[in-house]
């Protein structure tokens, strides 16, 4: 009996989570610029409008560039730091880890504005580069957390065995460490990419005239007649990212099926 009540709750909670998300696709196909029930017929014109909106496509391009650069850099930086923290007995590791994790405990608005002050003081132009620096700040702690967990999860004897069997350091790194770390690396790339792609506040203050997609969306929210188009954009982002997650999960399972000791 109790279990049935819990099941009911679980479905109610799921409904709460999905209600706002379903608003996006539903009204993106609604043939009216007013976002209210009752629905007034099916249309794809908002998607057509989106396809001819060059400002949006430009912002999308900006966001993709920033997110790719941020994901690559923060994962590389996270990878080296995670290796240092898990494989070397260094003095001050805890302090360094605390310092690197600090952005997780500071509200984004403070990070954004302190970076804005730095850019102004050094006459660094507000640009996509400035946004990427800001995103690096919030993505490195994420990458580090994911990668440390992965390094701790695999058996370091495997690396030593490889060295004992005569592989050099680089070959050991490429043939043993990287394949074993791959799920962690993929997870880190995915998490940092999504974080950067979706980040608004830092980009809002640091992007100058080079709007990223969230900054562009923020600008559109003021114009009621543009809203259905923005909802169509949201529906596309949702579909694309769900596809990406399922793909990543599929790739991860492919990797897991290979016999891998300690993976």
């Amino acid at each position: 009996m109790k279990s049935r009540g819990l099941l009911l709750y679980a479905f109610a909670y799921l409904a709460f989570l999905y209600l706002p998300v379903l608003v996006l696709p539903i009204f993106s196909f609604n043939n009216s610029q007013f976002i209210a029930f009752p629905l007034s017929g099916f249309t794809t014109r908002w998607y057509a409008a989106l396809a001819s909106d060059t400002a949006m496509q430009h912002a999308l391009g900006n966001s993709l560039r920033v997110a790719i650069v941020t994901a690559l850099f923060s994962t590389i930086v996270g990878l080296t730091a995670a290796r240092a923290i898990t494989r070397y007995r260094l003095r001050g590791t805890k302090l360094a880890l605390g310092f690197i994790s600090l952005p997780l405990f500071i509200p984004d608005i403070v990070l954004a504005l302190s970076l804005l002050l730095l850019m102004e003081a050094t006459s660094f132009p507000l640009s996509l580069v400035a946004v990427a620096i800001g995103h690096l700040l919030i993505c490195v702690p994420f990458a580090l957390t994911v990668l440390i967990a992965r390094f701790e999860g695999f058996d370091r004897n495997l690396e030593e065995a490889s060295a004992d069997l005569g592989e050099g350091e680089w070959m050991t790194f490429w043939r043993v460490t990287v394949p074993l770390m791959l799920p962690g690396i993929v997870a880190s790339l995915l998490l940092t990419f999504i974080t950067s792609f979706d980040e608004f506040l830092l980009a809002y203050f640091l992007s100058g005239t080079q709007a990223t997609l969230p900054v562009y969306i923020w600008g559109q929210l003021r114009f009621p007649e543009r809203l259905p188009m923005v909802l169509a954009l949201g529906a596309i982002i949702l579909t694309a990212s769900v596809g990406l997650v399922i793909l990543a999960e599929y790739v991860r399972n492919l990797g897991a099926r290979k016999p891998m000791v300690g993976a």
Binding site: P20, F37, Y88, I109, V110, L111, V140, G234
Partner: protein, 286 residues
């Protein structure tokens, strides 16, 4: 590990890039912000000399104090509501279903779209001619749209409780999943009923997850700008909105810097208390 002493230099070289990034993008900007907060605005620039006037204003002015308190109360409420709603859900996935992966996937998919649009969707749902009002009117349950749904702290709490749900479900699920079933059986064998067993075994053992979730939610929601700006109205304005105005609108950067640093310190102290509590809970659970 025996050779780790010899390679210490290599280890420091590996961690250096991360420290450089944080030094340049975190330490230097925060230092600059501290210096700015000790200035005072004069026209478009700063007046000469250093002053604590901004801190006097931030701590002395009643309207700022009220906004700080409101921000903490709202995000405290958000934290409690989010965690309480998520706990039974995480409990269900951990103990009452075999399709754990499917449930976790279903629970995280809503978070894979733009944060801005998820927040904005609530504006559509709660609005004057929004989903709830037009739905209730159509069902003839109300004759006038309800105006009290949007532009108040309630709307902010609902929206944030939705936006941060995944950050509560996942840590709580992980800590529940770790509980040894033998402990639960032992409690039952020794005569504990379901409720007693939950209160004495399950809840204390899952406390680290609950407190972890609380920190993950409290820190970012206290400084959230988007949600209060979109659904908060004047009654739901929070500290980040005031800070933004200092940098964008009126233009008093030193005051904005002081407000930022004080709210950062406030969040750090509260988060620190949470973490201390988490550590105590973990020790008690052992």
């Amino acid at each position: 590990m025996a050779d780790s002493g010899r390679n210490a230099g290599e280890g420091y070289a590996l961690i250096a890039p991360a420290l450089v990034v944080m030094g340049l993008a975190l330490a230097a900007p925060l230092l600059l912000m501290t210096l700015t907060s000790l200035k005072s605005q004069q026209g478009l620039g700063f007046a000469h000399g250093w002053t604590l006037a901004q801190y006097g204003a931030v701590l002395g002015e009643a309207s700022y104090r009220a906004l700080f308190i409101r921000s903490v109360v709202i995000s405290g409420l958000v934290t409690v509501v989010t965690v309480c709603l998520a706990y039974p859900m995480a409990y269900f996935v951990a103990f009452h279903t075999k399709r754990k992966f499917l449930w976790l996937l279903a629970l995280t998919i809503p978070f894979w779209t733009s944060y801005l649009l998820r927040v904005f969707a609530w504006k559509i749902i709660l609005g004057f001619d929004g989903v709830i009002n037009s739905g209730l009117m159509r069902l003839h349950l109300i004759s006038q749209p309800l105006g009290l749904l949007l532009y108040n702290p309630f709307a902010v709490v609902v929206t944030l409780a939705h936006a941060w749900a995944a950050f509560a479900i996942l840590p709580i699920y992980v800590s529940l999943e770790k509980i040894d079933p033998a402990l639960l059986e032992a409690a039952s064998d020794l005569g504990d009923g379901a409720v007693r067993r939950f209160l004495r075994i399950t809840l204390p053992l899952s406390l680290p997850g609950v407190i972890g979730a609380a920190v993950l939610i409290f820190v970012p929601t206290t400084g959230d700008y988007v949600t209060p700006a979109l659904v908060g109205g004047t009654q739901g304005t929070m500290i980040a909105n005031l800070i933004e105005v200092q940098f964008n609108g009126v233009g008093n950067w030193p005051l904005g810097a002081a407000l930022s640093l004080v709210s950062m310190a406030m969040v750090a102290v509260i988060a620190g208390l949470f973490v201390t509590a988490a550590r105590a809970a973990r020790q008690a659970a052992r």
